[in-house]
């Protein structure tokens, strides 16, 4: 095999590289140290001619492995795209010349840096292989949508509109979900352009409920198969080859295959019964959901109060009832759209019970998100709905109707407001299945006995029904962030969940109204289609879109420790009958966390492995202890830290001449062996840079950065056995915007090395 490999190096002398560096010496380094059989220099490698030179070398000279020494691997990706060979890039532009001052004193160390980056790129490519298909990929253009409310129906319609078939599974006997029950809808538009402030202007009003049209459209669509009274009782496989059992109430099961899944399981109403002060046991104190039924029952006539059927002449809306509070029995978050609902419902009274029906909305923070937004608030005001900023103490009753006791926060006084009807703004609770990691996380820090006790307590506790019944080793449902909402990288890839190819949409992700849910569903549908197609090509989903490599492991070496299975943030690894890990290529996001976790280092990717990085670390020329040239290894996450360093160089920040920066897919992929090898081969310090971890994580692979931090916490012990100072190894959280901070962190390590001295391990 090794004989089939042919190595070719290309050194660009454009963008000032040729002026700042001795290209002749770089070529010698590539040939002599890097063992490049062929080496070319070009004055502008990314130009048509330069690219052609590489192409010709591949086609005519049979190069199979290509090392390109030019700009950062993040630049010119379209020009330097040679999918038919293995390729590495030495970052001479952002990584060297732009990061170093153009002075005589700096010349030598700058050239040293460049030579090292050439050696590293050569070493890397030597251990890389061209990624090839695993043979596991499958193309299935049918999408499963779970949930037949607005979100699910929108996802189904959008998917069908793109020409993909859909199976829509709905638990109840009818499509439409909650929205079908609403009397009217929150308007989906703002005031027209140019509508000025005024007291009698054209502002958005509640919309007619058009959900029935949507149901009809779904039913009429030939690409959509609807399963009513049905649930998903088993889901197995991976994107491109999911298999789902769809079971009806009567127990009949149909098994269907899918490319990807959209989970639109919606929400349920918060149960206020644990908060007696809200007075919800009184018939004339209703929830905002119940009010919709009262309004609908009234047709266009006056709304009547439940206790005695009297026409309502005064109504008080208690906003944010039992929400955004850490008190026992309360909802810890705010559902966001309750004020829009209250404005809409107050207008029902103005329209149906007459203009002189007193309607008061008691708010603490009025929020009107969405398309109509502020204009809808103004619309309510224009209809003489009274808005009072008040903190509700309790809702009491004597006889019919109810009294709301509140503190008026503007007039600073206590008020008791009597009304025929009180409407509580109750929150939205996501309909999620059990959180696969709930036990893991709440059990952090418990002893084994405590864990066992906790587990058995969980078993006897009320069980939440699973939505997807995944047969994944890591649990039956989508992992959650908190409060039952599905986890996703909220900033960069909001639709991605921690189960590849399964997209959550609608109020199961966060509370939202119909309009927002429709937008959300459309996004999720597009992502599902993309995931199905990616799976057919064997390429990754976000953030390594298009990556064809996938993890494989050397079975003979595996000790069945299960670290990979447990640490994979995406539940990609199952277990086979012999209890070996079983990788599911299309569930995998290519983060490498499994690789970093494996204590016996048997997991690798074709183009990213213990060797591709380990050999880079070893390839660096190590000056002796007395040279006054320390070496600092920087392992920087390719998602945030590495681009931040590139940016730093672009904006003229200096990066320490002693730094040798290796991009890693995720800090989670960093193997402890790289750290020990680096220390053993004489590096004076190691700086690891990954994304923010924890609850408001920024890690593009969700848990990778956390896993790395846990692993590296133990590195101190290793250092002390080597008799090295623990401060030589640090882990930092770096954001893509840390353009000034990232180089400074390396500089800090330079200072540490100055203080504790050079490593004694330089041979």
């Amino acid at each position: 095999m090794a004989d089939d490999k042919k190595f070719a190096g290309f050194i660009c002398t454009g963008c000032g590289i040729g002026e700042r560096l001795d290209a002749g010496q770089l070529e010698t380094t590539a040939k002599r140290d890097g063992k490049m059989a062929i080496c070319h220099q070009h004055e502008m490698l990314c130009s048509k001619e330069g690219v052609q030179l590489i192409r010709d070398t591949i086609d005519n000279d049979g190069a199979t492995h290509v090392m390109i020494a030019a700009c950062s691997r993040r630049a010119k990706v379209e020009a330097f795209s040679f999918p038919d060979v293995a390729m590495s890039r030495a970052n001479l532009r952002e990584g060297v010349i732009w990061a170093r001052p153009d002075t005589d004193e700096a010349r030598e160390t700058t050239q040293d840096m460049a030579d090292d980056y050439i050696r590293m790129a050569c070493a890397e490519v030597k251990y890389m292989n061209k990624p090839k298909m695993s043979g596991e990929q499958a193309l299935n253009k049918t999408i499963l949508v779970v949930g037949g409310g607005v979100t699910g129906m929108t996802a189904a319609l959008e998917t069908a509109a793109a020409g993909f078939a859909v199976h829509l599974v709905e638990k109840t006997g009818a499509l439409g979900g909650w929205a079908a029950k609403w009397h009217k809808r929150i308007p989906g538009r703002a005031a027209a352009d140019g509508v000025a402030n005024g007291t009698n202007v054209d502002l958005p009003m509640p919309m007619e409920n058009d959900i029935a049209d949507m149901v009809a459209a779904v039913e009429a669509n030939e690409l959509i198969t609807v399963h009513l009274n049905s649930t998903v009782t088993k889901t197995s496989g991976a994107p491109g080859r999911f298999s789902a059992d769809i079971t009806t109430e009567s127990g009949a099961t149909a098994t269907e295959n899918f490319g990807a899944i959209v989970q639109a399981s919606g929400w349920k109403e918060f149960d206020p019964s644990a908060i007696p002060s809200l007075g919800s046991s009184n018939a004339d104190v209703v929830s905002n959901v119940e009010l919709e039924a009262l309004a609908k029952a009234a047709g266009d006539g006056p709304i009547k109060r439940p206790s005695d059927g009297k026409e309502v002449k005064s109504v008080v809306f208690v906003q944010n009832a039992g929400q955004a509070s850490t008190a026992e029995g309360h909802l810890p978050y705010h559902s966001g759209i309750g004020d829009l609902i209250a404005i809409k419902q107050a207008m029902y009274f103005k329209a149906q019970n007459g203009k002189d029906c007193d309607t008061t909305i008691l708010f603490d923070n009025l929020r009107t998100p969405g398309a109509a937004g502020e204009d809808f608030y103004r619309s309510g005001q224009q209809q003489m709905v009274i808005f009072s900023k008040g903190q509700v103490g309790d809702v009491t009753s004597s006889g019919n109707g109810a009294t709301v006791n509140f503190r008026d926060l503007i007039l600073d006084e206590d008020v008791a407001l009597q009304a025929d009807l009180v409407v509580l703004d109750l929150g939205m609770v996501p309909n999620s299945g059990p959180d696969p990691y709930a036990a893991n996380e709440s059990q952090e820090g418990m002893s084994d006995e405590e864990k066992t006790a906790d587990n058995s307590a969980r078993e006897t506790a009320v069980t939440i029904d699973s939505i997807l019944n995944l047969d994944y080793r890591q649990g039956t449902d989508l992992p959650q962030l908190k409060w039952g909402f599905t986890d996703s990288h909220f900033i960069c890839f909001p639709y991605e969940t921690r189960r590849t190819g399964i997209y959550a949409a609608g109020p199961v992700r966060r509370p939202m109204d119909i309009k927002q849910a429709q937008d959300d569903a459309t996004g999720a549908a597009m992502k599902a289609i993309q995931a199905a197609i990616n799976a057919g090509q064997g390429s990754a989903a976000h953030p390594r879109v298009g990556d064809l490599s996938y993890p494989s492991f050397r079975k003979e070496g595996c000790t069945q420790c299960k670290r990979c299975t447990v640490e994979c943030p995406f539940g990609a690894i199952n277990e086979d009958e012999k209890r070996y890990p079983q990788f599911n290529e299309s569930r995998c996001r290519r983060c490498g966390t499994c690789m970093g976790a494996c204590p016996v280092r048997v997991i690798s990717f074709e183009n990213y492995s213990i060797d591709t990085v380990g050999q880079q670390i070893k390839a660096v020329d190590m000056p002796d202890e007395f040279s006054e040239k320390p070496r600092i290894l920087v392992m920087a996450c390719e998602n945030d830290a590495y681009p931040a360093l590139d940016q730093a160089a672009m904006s003229g920040q200096e990066i320490s001449p002693w730094a040798r920066i290796v991009p890693v897919r995720c800090l989670g992929s960093v193997s402890l062996s790289w750290v020990t090898d680096a220390m053993n081969s004489g590096y004076d310090g190691i700086v690891m840079m990954g994304c923010q971890r924890g609850e408001d994580y920024q890690c593009h692979f969700v848990r990778g950065s956390t896993m790395a931090a846990e692993r590296m916490a133990k590195v101190g012990d290793t250092l002390s056995t080597l008799n090295l100072e623990p401060e030589r190894v640090v882990v930092h959280e770096v954001a893509i915007t840390d353009i000034e901070r990232a180089p400074r962190l390396i500089k800090e390590m330079e200072e540490v090395v100055e203080k504790v001295g050079m490593s004694p391990f330089k041979f």
Binding site: N197, T199, R378, Q381, M384, F387, S388, I410
Partner: protein, 208 residues
């Protein structure tokens, strides 16, 4: 309390906001206030009064009729227009303040001895005589607004300024004797009478 006041209370029993909407100049804007407090923070004098414009509007919505109409606050507005310029909802706040003052005056429930109200009455009386303001007389009646002794004292204090104004022809001492009128005084008086009738009819309609 006037009959009109009683009639208005009768009519708008539970909605002072509707009463303001129907009877106060620009009163229909009060419901559009979003209680942001920008006016309160912008008013150069707000700190010195009992209620800022923001509070006045909230009190109207909370049905605090007496407290609003008998308050001193809207009389204190100096028409600087800071609030109007800044209000994000573009309420004509200054006009509403004056509208409220005017309405309270019509209902006869202005706080006793309110100086702005007193001055306004002097101004009105002065204006009605000749159809134009006699500045000399208005100034002097202002000095004596709070009694004879204080009037003499203020007059002496302002003596030099007065003489200066006469010298530079800014003031004509002859105006003290009757003073000149607008060209068509009876026409002016007819206009005012008609306006007053219309206004009375409007209020009577809402009050009745």
């Amino acid at each position: 309390m006037s009959d009109m006041n009683t009639a208005m209370i009768e009519k708008y029993r539970n909605s002072f906001l509707s009463e303001v909407e129907a009877n106060v100049e620009e009163g229909e804007w009060v419901k559009m206030c979003m209680q942001c407090g920008v006016c309160a923070g912008s008013c150069p004098l707000g700190d010195a009064w009992e209620h800022t414009p923001q509070k006045i509007f909230m009190m109207i919505r909370a049905g605090k009729r007496d407290e609003v109409l008998q308050s001193d606050s809207m009389w204190m507005c100096t028409s600087c227009y800071n609030c109007i310029v800044r209000c994000p909802r573009e309420l004509p706040i200054t006009h509403i303040m004056h509208g409220l003052a005017h309405y309270a005056k019509r209902l006869g429930i202005v706080p006793q001895g309110q100086p702005t109200a007193k001055f306004a009455q002097l101004f009105w009386n002065n204006l009605m005589k000749k159809g134009r303001v006699n500045e000399l007389k208005l100034g002097i009646s202002l000095y004596f607004m709070n009694g004879f002794g204080e009037g003499v004292k203020t007059s002496l204090k302002m003596k030099d300024i007065g003489i200066g104004m006469v010298k530079t022809k800014r003031m004509n001492p002859m105006e003290m004797l009757g003073g000149h009128a607008v060209k068509d005084l009876s026409g002016f008086q007819k206009v005012i009478k008609k306006a007053q009738e219309l206004e009375d009819a409007r209020l009577a309609k809402h009050g009745g």
